[in-house]
């Protein structure tokens, strides 16, 4: 977390139990598994105090996205992809299936490539979020993965491209000499209905060379 969340007296606060109630049955699994971590993060961020109710109305939070701290007013049930697209207005991240099967919503959260449609926005508080918009240094200077994708024509309709690039970035953040197998594995969660994969594989190889 880059900056400490500013406290305000009228901001509703959340207890773990009421939070789970408020987000409904479908999210209980997620909250129960990750609850401790999230509660801890929310407490650290100053959003959550014991025995206070948070939601279903909007609460003030802030996200650390692409190196900047951005405030947002969201309902606790908001998924990370909704927060990114609708509240932070970063529409490069897409939704293809809304259930973690296609990878169009891939972002990097604290160094891990994740499906943002399967992650509660509150789970991302206090963590670093990287989206496609954070890759380029400037409008004139794109990231090597982006330039490689253009050179190899690793896109057709382009709707999966953001997610594909984020998965590639996650791979190349770990290694700059990936094997063919590692490359295939890295993007195996990203569905491209146009079938651009062969060009994606070669783009990732070129990007790896550029990043050495």
């Amino acid at each position: 977390m880059g900056e400490k969340q500013k406290k305000s007296d009228d901001t509703p606060k959340l207890s773990r139990r009421t939070f789970i109630k408020s987000v409904g049955f479908s999210s209980v699994g997620v909250a129960a598994v990750r609850g401790e971590g999230m509660v801890g993060q929310l407490q650290k961020a100053g959003i959550l105090e014991k025995d206070k109710i948070l939601g279903p109305g909007k609460i003030q939070v802030s996200f650390q996205v692409n190196g900047k701290v951005v405030p947002a007013s969201i309902e606790p049930r908001t998924m990370l992809v909704e927060a990114i697209r609708d509240h932070l207005v970063l529409t490069g991240t897409k939704i293809g299936c809304n259930r973690g099967a296609c990878g169009a919503c891939t972002v990097i959260l604290d160094g891990k490539a994740i499906a943002s449609c399967m992650t509660l926005a509150l789970d991302a508080i206090g963590k670093s979020i990287e989206t496609i918009e954070g890759l380029e240094e400037s409008k004139e200077k794109l990231h090597p993965i982006q330039t490689s994708f253009i050179e190899h024509d690793a896109m057709q309709c382009g709707f999966c491209t953001s997610g594909m690039i984020m998965s590639s970035k996650h791979l190349l953040d770990k290694t700059n000499s990936p094997s063919d197998r590692e490359i295939k594995e890295a993007v195996s969660g990203n569905l491209c209905r146009c079938g651009t994969y062969p060009h994606v594989f070669s783009a990732i190889k070129t990007a790896a060379k550029k990043m050495k």
Partner: protein
């Protein structure tokens, strides 16, 4: 005055000279001797930066001021009458802006699970969910059928149960029989008296399109003026259909599609969701965003019909095909044709054919054109039968094909390149020869598609007095990347770089552009672009000649935009000449270009193609792995080899996916699709991609100023059939059913 031009036309470098009459306003068509700088090379997408940075705004991403959200409540039942819709509670919910039944009058029928019943608009998406729960719909359920075999029988529940017409109540539609073909008796006689005959029945599954961006629109009604941001592959089609539906002038409807996330044939029309979104906007007074969910996309926006094909083919001892008989039926759900006969009708030089095709209605979502409608299905049956027949005669399957397609010179060239690059001659001629558990095999298949283009495309090209160049047309980019050859063609004519040409598309306020269906975008649009660029060049040459005080014919526009006087040191730069546009044209020179009829009938009405496949089949698990596909295709004069290669890869991967994985499954007891998502509706992903090698034929005919033809559809047609033939070669057992899952393979091997 029209003029005669000598052109060098033919396949690759095998050229002959012809004379073609060209209208005065058109350039000499590019021919086999023109080596161009950008066109036909590997040009990177001019909008690549937008797509790789997330800056490309799809319909899904667009936010219009004041925009609210729409949703359609759909029938959970496969057949019912909607008796009553109680909207009172939902209307009271604050933030709900409009609720509109799908039909004006109650009761109305629904014929498939997922059909639209009521549309709602509300301030937020979460609110829509709450409002939906408050709407009470009373259905009277009817009997239904989602099973192809059951549906075609007399007495099955009629899909059009409410019709007064007894004929319309029949699910099995009377078959189409092509009148110029042989009679049934004639074909049976030919086949039974042939030296060799094979016959078999093939079955293929229903495949859904699954574009990554689901279908949807943002609709804005403003006192009878309608603006629609649509994820469509036909901006003008949507405009025309909406104008027609709401009885407003076409000029009052504007459709905008700057970027769209795939369609594959399912986004060719406006569809009911578009009309409902417009109505919601009219009622609420606000722009309404209505994007479908992935489930709705599977259920309602189209599919490739299934098929049952009974095919028999005869041949002489010498390997000449004597006749083809094909009887097929399939279901496109509640609408759409399931014909599969294109390949059987058009690939082989066979005079005697009998084709009978029937459609069967079932209580399933309507089909839609899907990347070469009917052709992957038809090819799967035809090309396996051809292999079987070759085997029976004792001929090499490739040799047998060569012998029976002599009229198609392009295809002959494709066989030659394909066989050589693939190493066809080295294959073991015996099927099922591998000893181990994992058996490998190779196979091949032909494809056919058609040269399709529409006339009327109209582009406008502006050259400003600062030298900047801007090309505009209303066409959408389905993903093939049409904007890049558009820029490359202008750059080619004007001696510029493609990146110097700004291209704006996706708006019906601009000139007519082609619908991206039938693989016709490039063939339909690029000649208009070249004609405009050539006209602009003539004007600029005139200006340069006058400025330099020389004859126009003595000035050449060269690379770098240099206007060079022949045999002289005299020249002017692009900047210098275009600066004169300020003086002469008030700052902007605008020219237009049109797509008219082809200059002559080249006789080339088709697009051929051949693919070779190598597979490894695990005989213990039944799993088929596709190791390699080698594809040879023609698409007229190739416009951009980089994007064509990408599209061919995509066609092949979709073909692999169709061959091995995809299958829409409807539960016969409930009529509901059990896999309306992207995890249990399995689509080939990165791990399933084979090694792909593509070779393109350069086919220059000079029929239009660019000579382009299509590639999108051809590339997916033969893949499943080539894989199936390779599987036979591996196992010595033929699989006549798609998808070729492990269970199907093990069943064919007699192991389960």
């Amino acid at each position: 005055m029209p003029r005669d031009e000598k052109l060098y036309v033919g396949i690759n470098k095998d050229l002959k000279e012809i004379t073609v009459t060209i209208p005065d306003a058109d350039p000499k068509p590019w021919d086999g001797k023109d080596d161009l700088k950008h066109v036909g090379k590997r040009v990177t997408r001019i909008d690549g930066t937008y797509k790789t940075t997330g800056r490309a705004k799809y319909t899904y991403d667009i936010k219009v001021p004041g925009m609210i959200y729409g949703k359609i409540i759909r029938s959970p039942y496969p057949a019912a009458m909607v008796k009553k819709i109680d909207m009172a509670q939902a209307k009271k919910l604050p933030g709900v802006r409009a609720i509109i039944p799908a039909k004006d009058e109650l009761p109305f029928p629904v014929r498939f699970a997922g059909q639209d019943v009521v549309a709602i608009a509300a301030d937020t998406e979460h609110l829509l969910e709450e409002a939906a729960k408050l709407i009470k719909i009373e259905y009277e359920q009817k009997s239904f059928t989602v099973d192809l075999e059951e549906a075609k029988n007399e007495g099955s529940p009629p899909v059009y149960f409410d019709s007064d017409d007894e004929d319309r109540k029949k699910n099995l539609r009377s078959p189409n029989i092509s009148p110029e073909d042989a009679t049934p008796d004639e074909i049976d006689e030919i086949l039974s008296s042939s030296d060799h005959k094979v016959e078999a029945t093939y079955r293929t599954q229903v495949q859904t399109h699954c574009p990554m961006e689901t279908h949807g629109v943002i609709a804005k009604w403003d006192e009878g003026k309608i603006t629609i941001w649509a994820s469509t592959q036909g901006t003008f089609t949507v405009r025309n259909q909406v104008a027609d539906h709401f009885d407003v002038p076409k000029s009052d409807v504007r459709v905008i599609t700057k970027y769209m996330g795939g369609g594959f044939g399912s986004k060719l029309k406006a569809d009911t969701y578009t009309m409902l979104a417009v109505k919601l906007s009219r009622e609420s007074g606000k722009p309404v965003r209505l994007m479908l969910s992935r489930k709705e996309d599977h259920l309602t926006t189209g599919n490739r019909p299934d098929s049952v094909q009974m095919i028999s083919i005869g041949a002489t001892n010498e390997g000449i095909i004597t006749g083809i008989k094909l009887k097929s039926y399939g279901t496109g759900g509640v609408a759409g044709g399931a014909g599969t006969s294109g390949p059987a009708q058009n690939i082989y030089d066979v005079e005697k054919k009998y084709i009978e095709e029937a459609n069967v209605y079932t209580n399933a979502g309507p089909s839609a054109p899907f990347r070469a409608p009917g052709h992957p299905q038809g090819t799967f049956a035809l090309e396996q039968t051809i292999d079987d027949l070759a085997l029976k005669i004792g001929m090499d399957p490739l040799e047998f094909r060569i012998k029976n397609t002599m009229s198609d010179e392009v295809r002959q060239a494709e066989y030659k390149i394909g066989a050589e690059k693939f190493g066809w001659a080295k294959r073991n001629r015996k099927a099922g020869a591998d000893k181990g558990v994992i058996k490998s095999g190779v196979g091949m298949a032909n494809s056919i598609w058609y040269y399709i283009y529409a006339t009327g495309s109209h582009v406008s090209l502006r050259i400003n007095d600062d030298g900047s160049v801007h090309l505009r047309n209303g066409v959408q980019d389905i993903g093939g990347g049409i904007v890049t050859p558009m820029a490359a063609i202008v750059a080619e004519e004007l001696g510029l770089e493609p990146k110097n040409v700004k291209v704006t598309i996706g708006d019906t306020e601009f000139g007519l552009g082609p619908t991206s269906g039938g693989s016709q975008t490039t063939a339909g649009l690029t000649p208009a672009v070249r004609n405009a660029a050539w006209s602009a060049k003539q004007r600029l040459l005139n200006m340069a000649a006058e400025l330099m005080e020389v004859e126009k014919n003595n000035v050449r526009l060269q690379s770098g935009g240099v206007f060079q006087v022949v045999d002289s040191e005299k020249k002017m730069t692009w900047k210098e000449v275009t600066a004169e546009i300020g003086e002469r044209y008030g700052g902007q020179l605008t020219v237009t270009g049109d797509r008219n009829e082809d200059y002559y009938e080249s006789g080339r009405w088709k697009i051929s193609g051949v693919q070779f496949a190598e597979v490894a089949v695990d005989t213990e698990t039944g799993k088929i792995g596709v190791k390699r596909i080698l594809a040879v295709h023609d698409c007229g004069r190739p416009m951009n080899r980089l994007t064509i290669e990408n599209q061919v890869n995509g066609g092949i991967i979709q073909g692999v996916s169709y061959a091995l994985y995809e299958n829409r499954i409807l539960d016969r007891n409930t009529g509901i699709m059990v896999n309306p998502n992207l995890e249990s509706y399995k689509i080939a992903g990165a791990q399933e991609v084979p090694m792909i090698e593509t070779h393109l034929i350069d086919l220059n005919l000079g029929q239009s100023s660019t000579g382009a033809a299509g590639i999108g559809e051809p590339a997916t047609i033969p893949t499943a059939a080539a894989i199936a033939n390779a599987v036979y070669h591996a196992l010595g057992v033929r699989i006549r059913e798609l998808p070729m899952t492990p269970a199907v393979v093990l069943n064919a091997l007699g192991k389960i």
